[in-house]
Structure formats: C-alpha cells, structure tokens
C-alpha cells in the first residue's frame, strides 16, 4: 500500500519510539509525543509496538490510499474519517484502493495522535530509527514534516489484516488520562537549587501552557519559582524525557520528544509517563497543576502501559481468529506444527 499526501495538515511527521542509542553523539531522541498511544495502536494492527506511524497534530492531513491495507488512529479524537465517514480513534478500519483519509478537526479532547498502518510506515531508518527530527533534518521523509505530493510506502501487513475491520480498543485500555488530574513530578535531581517557598508555589499554583510550546518543550507561565543563591545554571548534564527544567526566569519548561540531549538549567524532577501522556494532549492556554510522586509510581505506570499493550495484542488475536456462524468454517488462524522435530508457526488467511 502507498499513501499520497493531498494535504499535509498542521504538522504531520513520521515518528516511532525514538532514536535511542545516539544521545552520546548529541542526537536527540525525538519519537512520538504520545508514546503509549503509538505502542497500543501498532499492536492493534499486528505491528511491532515500535513500528513507524504518522504523527498528526491538531489539524490532520488528507491522504489518498493506493492499494489495500488497514489503519487505526491511536490518540486523541481528531475526527479521523475515511471517505467522509467518521471512524474516530481506537477503531481499526480496512482501507481499499482510492479511499480518502481526512480529519474533521479536534473534538476538544486532545491535540495529537498516531495514524498507524498495518505493516507500519516503510522508510529506511537513520541511526536505527524512522523518527523525524526536524531541527537537524534527520529521519522520516527528508528530515521534514510531510508536504503535499509526498508518497509514503507502507510495509507488509501481518496476516489476517482483512479481519481487523471494526476492531475496537476497550475503553479501559485507552491510555488517555483524566485531563484535570494534577501532573505527577518525580522530584529529585537539582531539587535543592530551589527555595522552600519556590517549591511550595510549584505544587500549589496553577500554570498555563504558553503558545511557544512545541515538540521540544512545553513552556508554562504562572507563579515564579525562586532559586536559592546557587542560581539557575548548572554545568550541562543529561535531560531525560519529561524533565521539569526551571531556568533563571522561574517558569517551568517540560522537556518533550525533541529535547536537546544535554542542558545547563536546573531540573526539579521528571514527569511520570502517564502524566506525560496527559500533558502532550493539552492545548496551549490549558491550565495544569502539579503534585509530587516517587519513582515507584512511575514504574507502576510503565507496568500498566506494558500490560495494556499486552492485552491489546491478545484482543487483536482473538478478534482476527473469531469465526462467522453464517459462513462455512474457513481455514484461518494460528497453528503450531512440529515436523521431524522442527517447530513451525503457521498463520492461515482466507482469501
């Protein structure tokens, strides 16, 4: 299958789980902003959880489909539709030649998602990743956001993809968080660079996401957090995903997918993975609050995400292996055969 981009949308780029392993060369990780959504969307289609997808921001692209395949929109509801008919998020759809994918616009419940295809977006990886890092023009399609006329190849889908039509993710596996819950910061790092009063303000005040926020960082405005006499600058060290960095101006910046590998501002802690998931869906102008968390809470969230991915995988298998009562029982499903001591895994598909 191929995709022909007829309208690019606001910011559509190829992303996977990120370019890990090259930070010591100064190369930012990049990758999908909503990571749990990408992982779950991929396994719903039988892809590896890190397959590349198109990250869609707020106003989605218009895409013509060449060939056949299957897709799911994993993330906030941005009005994902096929031939004008609403499909929505977390529901797989089988695509046929000539179908047109459009997005009707955000529904007020978030601003981005991953358009995943069975077989994944097929692009030669750069430094082991397909993720686009626009600032240094690395990865994806020529290191840039998609534009009109781009032709995107889709890889070979996993067997039984034709049976994916209508497969929906149960609501309890949707990684989206309560949008009003305070964001959890695992405190530490240079926490002692801030005054007690400053820390108190951070956890008691409301902050507004500013319009300068992008894939690199989410800038906040609100009560100014004072540093101690040691100041806001440190000798540069690593910036993990979700680091809450507070420069001399006292306003927090939360470091996102396209963050630099290293930086010289004090960090009060790091957001938990599900708080990150909630944050990246917030529009500029949204209000956020913070609360303290510890490492064990972050680990528990990673476990929950992993479990949701595992269950989504299982549900897909049982969906594509189900039988129709009205039709004669066709031969399909998963078999394990042992012939002369050799184990074979076989997937059958009705044609």
């Amino acid at each position: 299958m191929e995709l022909i981009i007829r309208k690019a949308g606001m910011l559509t780029s190829v992303q996977d789980l990120g370019r890990w392993g090259y930070q010591s060369s100064g190369v930012p990780v990049a990758g999908a902003m909503d990571l749990p959504a990408l992982r779950i969307g991929n396994v719903m289609l039988g892809n590896p959880e890190g397959a590349a997808a198109l990250e869609v921001t707020l106003l989605g692209p218009e895409i013509e489909v060449k060939g056949t395949g299957a897709a799911v929109f994993a993330g906030a509801d941005l009005g994902f539709s096929v031939n004008g008919k609403a499909v929505g998020s977390w529901r797989s759809v089988v695509l046929k030649d000539g179908d047109v994918i459009t997005f009707k616009g955000p529904r007020g419940k978030g601003c981005r998602g991953n358009l995943c295809f069975a077989g994944g977006v097929y692009i030669p990886p750069v430094m082991n990743s397909c993720s686009t890092y626009i600032r240094a023009k690395i990865g994806g399609v020529e290191g840039r956001a998609l534009k009109i006329g781009d032709v995107i190849k889709i890889g070979e889908p996993a067997a039984l993809w034709k049976k994916l039509e209508g497969f929906c993710l149960p609501e309890d596996l949707d990684p989206a968080q309560d949008a009003n819950a305070p964001l959890a910061i695992i405190t530490g790092l240079q926490e002692d660079a801030f005054t007690e009063e400053g820390k108190k303000l951070l956890f008691e005040s409301e902050y507004t996401i500013t319009a300068e926020s992008d894939r690199m960082g989410c800038r906040l405005e609100g009560a100014k957090i004072e540093h101690t006499e040691k100041g806001a600058d440190i000798v540069s060290d690593a910036i993990p995903l979700g680091a809450v960095q507070i420069p001399g101006h006292g306003m927090p910046i939360i470091m996102l997918a396209d963050r630099q590998t290293t930086g010289g501002y004090t960090k009060i802690g790091v957001l938990t993975p599900l708080s990150m998931e909630a944050l990246v869906q917030k529009m500029p102008g949204s209000k956020v609050r913070f609360r303290r968390a510890d490492v064990s809470e972050g680990v528990a969230e990673q476990m929950r995400i992993k479990e949701a991915v595992r269950r989504a995988k299982e549900l897909r298998l049982s969906h594509v292996s189900r039988t129709h009562s009205e039709a004669p029982k066709p031969l399909f499903g998963h078999f394990i055969l042992t012939v002369e001591g050799k184990r074979y895994e076989i997937t059958c598909e009705e044609i």
Binding site: S24, G188, A243, T262, V295
Partner: protein
C-alpha cells in the same frame, strides 16, 4: 580531594534514568570517572541498559524500568572498579583535525588576534600547539565540548551572531573552542574551518569526535584543505586517530 567526599551521587531522574554525578563543576578527574563508568557498564551484559550518556561531570543511564530496577542499575554502577589515576593519564585517543585558518575560512581571526594583542600567526600557533580534551558531545548532533584551549586567546562571543555558519567552522567563545558540526546560526568567533565531516547521520559511527578523545588542531594550507575536502567527498579520507597506552 575534598571535591570527591560527597561524590559520586546516585540520583534517580524519573523512573527510567539514573544519573551518577561525580562533581558539580567542570573537572577533568570527574570526566575521566564518567568515561570509566560508561565503559564498565557497557560490559555488564546482565544489566539491561538502553543507553549511557556521558556529560562533563555525570553519566546518565537510561533503562527500561519494567525489565531492570533503578536499584539494580545503581548497584551495578557502585560495583565499577575505581579509576586508577595513572592508567587514565597514560591511555588516551587523539584525533587530528586539519584546519585552514584565517581568510574566508576564519573571518574573525583578526578579532581574536586583536583581543589577545598578538599576530594572527600566533593565534594559529597557540590554538594548535596543545590538544584539547572532549568532555562531552551535546547541544547539537556531533558538537564536541572541548576544554583546555590556551586561555591567552580566549575571546568573547560576537555581539551580533551570524544566522548561518558553515559546518566545519572552528570557533572560539570565551575560554572554549569548538567546531560547528552542521550548518547552524551562532555567535562564536570563527578562526578557521576543517574539511572533515564531524557528523554523518548515515554512518555506523555518526560522530567523528567522541567524548573522552583528545583533539589536536593541525594547521593546513588552502591547497591541502581542498585536497582533503575532495577525499572526504569521495569517501577515501581516513582521519588520523592514534591510541596511546
């Protein structure tokens, strides 16, 4: 040695990263300890690590917390053998970076000469006379933070930064010297340019200089610069890297 009494510090940075700090300032001993720990952790096959990121004074260790715990990573780091100071001082990797100084390659060399009160020839001599240590790579892909430049040629940044600087440009900013790996804006005083490619995304090792290397600038004439440039373009140039023990 008072510096090391409260170090190393083992900090958790969220649930998926541990930072081992060896100092809170730029310190060669701390940086050597960072490189030593990185080398050690990469040999520990029973601890599953996603990536190690060395900086001036700390090592960030990224891992999957559903596979290995922060405590296990910290314990592995604590089991690293201590750095033998002598061994470290006597083993190093040095890379030679050919630079064509002055002229269109280094339009700000006169600023540096004037600021130091010396001739342009002396700027070149002082810049290339002693090797610099690469403490870390960061800021942008392939950008090496170098320390140890002759401080007599330290010069403040340009007051009016350039919007485009060619990749390969060698500059001075305060006491630092560095090489722009890719075309980018910036305010460093440009004194020369290297024909080498510092960052090659499609290569198996994308950066020419790695953290921990000694970097020696070697002055070359324009003719030699052009010859090397052609060899780099043809993929036949082999950078001069020497390992001493």
């Amino acid at each position: 040695m008072s510096l090391y009494i409260k170090y190393p510090k083992y900090l958790t940075a969220g649930e998926s990263c541990v930072v081992v700090e060896f100092a809170d300032e730029i310190d060669r001993g701390a940086n050597d300890a960072v490189m030593n720990l990185k080398k050690y952790l990469l040999t520990q096959k029973d601890i599953s690590i996603v990536e190690c990121l060395p900086t001036y004074r700390s090592l960030a260790v990224y891992f999957d917390p559903t596979v290995v715990s922060a405590d296990e990573v910290i314990n592995a780091a604590k089991s690293a053998p201590e750095l033998d100071g002598e061994e470290c001082a006597s083993s190093f990797t040095e890379i030679s970076i050919p630079v064509c100084y002055g002229g269109e390659y280094g339009p700000d060399i006169a600023n540096v000469a004037e600021h130091a009160g010396i001739s342009e020839e002396d700027v070149i001599k002082r810049h290339s006379s002693k090797s610099c240590h690469c403490y870390m790579i960061g800021f942008m892909p392939g950008f090496a933070y170098l320390g140890g430049m002759d401080e007599s040629i330290a010069t403040p940044r340009l007051t009016n930064p350039r919007t485009v600087i060619n990749g390969g440009s060698v500059g001075i900013a305060g006491k630092q010297t560095g090489i722009y790996p890719i075309d980018s804006p910036g305010g460093w005083q440009l004194i020369g340019r290297t024909p080498l490619r510092l960052f090659t995304p499609e290569a198996s090792r994308p950066t020419l200089i790695e953290a921990g290397y000694e970097v020696r600038f070697v002055p070359v004439a324009e003719e030699e610069y052009k010859k090397i440039e052609a060899e780099v373009a043809a993929g036949t140039y082999k950078p001069l890297i020497t390992e001493a023990k």
